[in-house]
């Protein structure tokens, strides 16, 4: 065995090990936390890239924990999708970690520095683990690691509202946990195994056979509800606007950028890896049902976002809409559609990450949260605001930004279904895009084309470099991957094909 074959566990271990080391080192010297976290996420990012390369050259990698061959041991199974998610996760976490250095110093009390980084790394480890695992219960465990650390991170500022938001998030998240646990129990009763590949084989013989097929459906329902809560799919999104707007902005970026996507990943795993695509698409049209929900999510999320006055809250509602885009693509279960959904995970992660980091920079510099107060910022923080604009255009899906490519694929996927509902879905996608434009253009207009109340508002006062760099990298990514979308597509396309079995 070469060292490269251990990459699946390495990408999980790096953040988790860092999480254990951080409190000790942070207790000795707080300044050491940030470099440590940055270095380790960089390693995780590089390891993810190597992992992706090795998946692309060798196909799906299966890693047997403890040397027990599946289905008896816990197996880590990295397919294209898993490797893709690892890259997205480690990339955005790296950006958030770089950003945190200066942001956290002002936003959080000094004593919370070490816990902050510990929780961040725990969350990253959980997300990485959930992406690479091939075992249903193991996924549950990783999900809990990331959920619990995210509950704590939402509340970490200690502000009144944040604690309440965190509690709300916790309650709903815990219900989601319980539901998935019940789902796992049902599947275990039916098959006696927890390995996803094994489950998929064994469940295939149970489709449509008497009572056991009912149990199967109940299990599927529990999974759908449980992971929909984690993914904040409408109408189970109610925790998201509070939690994502109240968390520190670097955390909001990670939460909105990737954490809910991991929920989407779990949904995808359940739908296409545990249950067969034919079953969820044709026998029981679950995918079309979640597509409808996602279409509603797009419209409702956007409408809610339009009515917001708080910038971060608006961004949070926009996440509700965009998780709808992702799930819609997945639910379409066509080559183009699922590719589009998976591609949008990356594109939305970059754009929303950038937007939240920009919102954090605005709060850092001016303390403003209200959209109507942002006048004159275009002159005050030109680079930050340019990045904000680019990311916002990517959210709307304006060419040549990355959002346009995912919109293109999603639209093709909706039309590819060839049914009347496909036309409804494409209507939802296009309308969602237009509604997104309404609330982002409002912000952009305020930033650039509105007379500021005070002259001193327009004095050049740029975001510190440490915070600006990740913002600019993400904004640059929105453009570069819009012009060269084949880079993410090289993973997203085979990922979708493998998931759908086409």
């Amino acid at each position: 065995m070469t060292w490269a074959s251990h990459l699946p566990i390495i990408v999980v271990l790096i953040p988790l090990l860092t999480a254990y080391i951080t409190p000790m080192l942070g207790w000795m010297d707080k300044r050491i936390c940030n470099p440590l976290v940055i270095v380790s996420t960089s390693f995780a990012f590089i390891a993810s890239l190597l992992l992706a390369r090795s998946v692309l050259t060798r196909g799906v990698i299966s890693y047997h924990m403890g040397g027990f061959a599946p289905p008896f041991g816990i197996a880590l199974v990295v397919d294209y999708f898993g490797a893709y998610m690892c890259i997205v996760i480690s990339f955005l976490t790296l950006m958030a970690a770089i950003y945190s250095r200066e942001y956290i110093a002002k936003e959080l009390h000094e004593s919370k520095t070490a816990p902050y980084y510990t929780l961040l790394m725990l969350m990253t480890g959980g997300m990485m683990g959930a992406s690479v695992t091939g075992d249903l219960f193991n996924m549950f465990v990783f999900f809990e690691i990331l959920s619990i650390s995210s509950y704590a991170l939402v509340a970490i500022t200690g502000k009144k509202v944040a604690i309440l938001a965190s509690y709300k998030y916790l309650l709903l998240g815990a219900i989601g946990t319980s539901f998935t646990l019940v789902g796992i129990a049902y599947l275990y009763i039916l098959t006696g195994t927890l390995n996803m590949a094994d489950l998929s084989v064994r469940l295939a013989s149970l489709y449509g056979v008497g009572r056991s097929s009912w149990t199967l459906l109940v299990a599927l329902a529990f999974f759908m509800v449980g992971y929909s809560i984690k993914a904040a799919l409408f109408p189970l999104h109610t925790w998201l606007p509070d939690a994502h707007s109240m968390a520190p902005s670097s955390i909001s970026a990670v939460l909105s950028g990737i954490l809910i996507k991991v929920g989407a990943l779990a949904l995808i795993r359940v739908l296409f890896n545990i249950f067969q695509p034919e079953f969820v698409v044709e026998t029981i049209p679950v995918t079309s049902m979640i597509s409808w929900m996602a279409a509603v999510a797009i419209i409702v999320g956007s409408l809610f976002a339009i009515s917001q006055v708080d910038l971060k809250r608006m961004l949070a509602y926009s996440s509700v809409a965009h998780i709808g885009f992702i799930i819609l693509g997945v639910g379409l279960a066509t080559g183009y559609g699922t590719t589009g959904g998976i591609l949008h995970i990356f594109n939305h992660a970059m754009a929303k990450g950038c937007l939240f980091l920009c919102a954090g920079a605005i709060i850092y510099k001016t303390g403003l949260r209200n959209i109507d107060d942002l006048a004159g910022l275009g002159n005050k923080m030109p680079f930050t605001m340019a990045a904000f604009t680019i990311a916002a255009l990517s959210m709307i899906g304006i060419p040549p930004t990355a959002g346009f490519i995912s919109k293109f694929y999603l639209g093709l996927g909706a039309l590819e279904t060839g049914t009347w509902s496909g036309w409804v879905f494409i209507g939802a996608i296009l309308l969602g895009s237009l509604l997104t434009a309404i609330f982002y253009m409002r912000v952009i207009n305020n930033i650039y084309f509105k007379e500021p109340l005070h002259r001193e508002d327009v004095q050049r006062d740029e975001t510190p470099l440490g915070m600006l760099i990740p913002i600019l990298i993400l904004a640059g990514g929105c453009v570069i991957f819009g012009i060269f979308p084949r880079i993410p597509l090289s993973l997203a396309e085979p990922a979708a094909k493998l998931l759908l079995g086409i």
């Binding site: 709307i396 060419p399 639209g411 093709l412 434009a437």
Partner: protein
């Protein structure tokens, strides 16, 4: 040759890079900024001129950015006769407007931004013209919307913001509808290449009408055709005059260009003839002509009147193109050329009036011709061309469109040939009084422009106007020659003759 195939990219990039450099330079020196942007436009123009020999030899220039966008739809450029012809005119008009804006803009704020976005718009328009496939075309088409949005709302007044909002969101919405059409085309035939005439050949059924409708919605919005013109009369007048000139003169032409490519390249003449939509499209064009002219008569604000006049002229272009005959298309092309010259000149004049006398209202223009003779002479020439007075370009275009209508041979088409004549009369109704008023009436008792001294606008503003006026006359006189040399081959290429 490598260098030749790179030319479209250089033409696209030079205003883009020049604009960014100019923006930075503008923080130091305003003159340097304007010089750089003028040079960028000139470079773009020269590069396009450099492509002329190759195209005239019957070749096309292609350049593809491999690895960009999606594998079957890279961002690629292909220059044929029609894009080249339009590119030449547009980039030339842009030079004039860059020169013009140097003095005009000095009274307005955010000049650096204006300069940057003018250059970006030029870049995006050139990208739209030279795009090889519908995908790349749509990319540049949408970018134009955003860059020109910034030009529309330049004043940042509530009215400007409202007009800009209307422009932007309607533009986005229609753009999305067009996007939908593009998706449909791609799923039907698996390609979006604009190279072969009629890529939709072989597709049957109602889906064709859906595609035609959705694609045209996007193009006709940008062109400002009748049912989708609602933004034009508020957005064009509110922009600063150089921007109005390029919006009305150029950006609208971009919409016309896309419309013609949709009709002739995506559908193709044969398919459209079997679809039996020509009459309806002609009807739409006729409505636009009538509506635009009728609304223009009612206006008091000069720039709003000019904007409505644009609606009617776009109707001519659309009508000519929708006739689906070579002569009709030829008329449409001459009309594009003519309108570009004349409307730019008219907006320059309107801008000159605002700059020098602060006049926006038609009723205040009494006697202004004596104080600003050059401006009003240019205005007169352009207006006469608009009306279609014989030696000028406007006459040639109308002439060809009528010929095309006759050639189409249908009663409806002939009827609209007559409509054309009627609308010329309406043009006269709203242009002639202004001219008479300006030259032959004494100053009104209100004396809105009493303090205006009888010297004309600065040289940098006068020269572009005069060049345009000369162009209107020269090309009008030489219209027979130009159409044989330039337009006829272009049309033949478009029609696949």
């Amino acid at each position: 040759m490598i260098i030749i195939s790179c030319l479209p990219v250089i033409a696209l990039l030079s205003p883009l890079i020049g604009g960014i450099i100019a923006y930075q330079a503008g923080k130091i020196s305003e003159t340097a900024r304007d010089l750089i942007s003028i040079v960028a436009a000139i470079v773009s123009f020269i590069v396009i001129v450099a492509m002329v020999p190759t195209i005239l030899n019957g070749n096309t220039i292609e350049y593809s950015f491999y690895y960009t966008a999606i594998s079957t739809l890279p961002i690629a450029f292909r220059v044929g006769p029609f894009p080249l012809f339009l590119g030449l005119v547009i980039s030339f008009a842009w030079i004039l407007s860059a020169v013009y804006s140097h003095r005009y803009m000095e009274r307005l704020h955010s000049r650096n931004r204006f300069c940057l976005f003018m250059s970006l718009t030029l870049s995006a328009v050139i990208g739209t013209l030279f795009a090889k496939n519908m995908f790349a075309l749509f990319i540049f088409f949408e970018i134009t919307l955003f860059t020109s949005y910034v030009l529309v709302i330049h004043e940042e007044t509530p009215e400007a913001m409202a007009a800009g909002k209307k422009y932007l969101f309607l533009g986005l919405a229609t753009g999305l509808v067009m996007f939908f059409g593009i998706l449909l085309v791609y799923l039907q035939v698996g390609t979006l290449d604009l190279g072969k005439r009629g890529i939709l050949d072989g597709v049957h059924g109602n889906i064709l009408y859906v595609i035609l409708f959705t694609l045209l919605v996007g193009a006709l919005f940008k062109a400002g055709m009748f049912p989708l013109h609602v933004w034009l009369h508020s957005a064009h007048p509110i922009a600063p005059s150089p921007a109005s000139a390029v919006l009305s003169g150029v950006v609208v032409k971009e919409g016309c260009y896309v419309m013609i490519r949709i009709l002739y390249d995506i559908f193709g003449v044969n398919l459209l003839k079997t679809m039996l939509v020509s009459n309806w499209l002609v009807l739409l064009g006729g409505l636009s002509i009538f509506f635009g002219s009728a609304m223009a008569i009612r206006q008091h604000d000069l720039k709003t009147m000019l904007a409505y006049s644009t609606v009617s002229k776009v109707g001519y272009i659309f009508l000519g193109a929708a006739l689906l005959t070579p002569t009709g298309l030829q008329g449409a092309m001459v009309q594009i050329f003519h309108h570009l010259l004349a409307k730019s000149a008219l907006f320059f004049c309107a801008g000159a009036l605002i700059y020098k006398a602060g006049i926006r209202d038609i009723d205040q223009m009494a006697g202004i011709g004596k104080k600003m003779p050059i401006t009003m002479m240019v205005f007169t020439i352009a207006a006469l061309s608009m009306i279609g007075v014989p030696p000028l370009v406007g006459f040639a275009s109308k002439w060809y469109i009528v010929l095309g209508a006759l050639e189409a041979g249908r009663p409806l088409a002939i009827g609209f040939g007559l409509v054309l004549m009627l609308s010329s009369l309406m043009n006269a109704i709203y242009f002639i009084p202004i001219i008479i008023n300006a030259f032959f009436t004494g100053e009104s008792e209100h004396g809105e422009h009493k303090e205006v001294r009888p010297d004309d606008v600065p040289l940098s503003m006068a020269v572009p106007m005069v060049i345009l006026a000369i162009g209107i006359i020269v090309f009008g006189v030489l219209s027979a020659t130009t159409s044989v040399v330039v337009i006829k081959p272009t049309v033949n290429a478009m029609m696949g003759l």
